[in-house]
Symmetry: C2
Subunit: 104 residues, 2 copies
DNA sequence: TATATATTTAGCAACTTCGTTAATTGCTTA
DNA sequence: TAAGCAATTAACGAAGTTGCTAAATATATA
């Protein structure tokens, strides 16, 4: 299920930090790795987990691979989950209803 | 960090299903366990993970222990995270801003 | 072609999680 | 007190995750 890999991907501090970096701008794998005290192979694996969950996309550009955040998928999955758990109350209420209408 | 245990707790399908059950009503540990094809001790451990993350609260009532969902904490943490990653766009924008104002 | 840089894949050890059964603790009631 | 039900803790093995280094793959450039 999509929501499984989604929450699995978010259950890691370095992966959430990668998302935070990518929220500001696209970055190459190397640029991301340079921001962590961790080997490039370890970062590469985190990136593939994030990509498998649909949270980021990658594109090869010459000898570099550029990663970018999939904001829509992140926000929609998060909102859908919140709606499933809290259908009738809480701050997400209005936005969730709007989203549900849009998708039906 | 709180967000660590929060996402760790959500990274489990049975735990997310427990939250879904509790979104409708309070339930005792035994009532929750009876809804799963899993031993009571396993459910008990899942419940303690959820409680450690602040997602549910428990109260002993006679020989039973009743669990209930902490909706506010769930929605606020989810919204806070979405706001951190997607500060300027997406369907959560308006609600997130509202929440940020309210908490400052 | 040969060399250098960027990235990913492979193989490995340490650690954590998950579910099981058995034992323990907490509460109620005869 | 003793018996019974509810729930948790303990102890265990199976399986997965995480990080490392070394090796392989891609692309650019002399």
């Amino acid at each position: 299920m999509a929501v499984d890999s989604f929450f699995e991907a978010l259950a890691s501090r370095p992966r959430r930090e990668i998302l935070a970096y990518l929220s500001a701008q696209e970055l190459t794998a190397g640029e991301i790795a340079s921001r962590f005290a961790m080997s490039a192979p370890a970062i590469s694996r985190h990136l593939s987990v994030l990509e498998g969950a649909g949270l980021v996309s990658s594109e090869r550009r010459g000898q570099y691979v550029v990663y970018r955040l999939n904001k829509d998928n992140l926000v929609n999955t998060l909102t859908g989950f919140a709606f499933e758990i809290c259908p009738k109350a809480g701050p997400l209420k209005r936005e969730s209803r709007r989203l549900a209408r849009k998708e039906s």
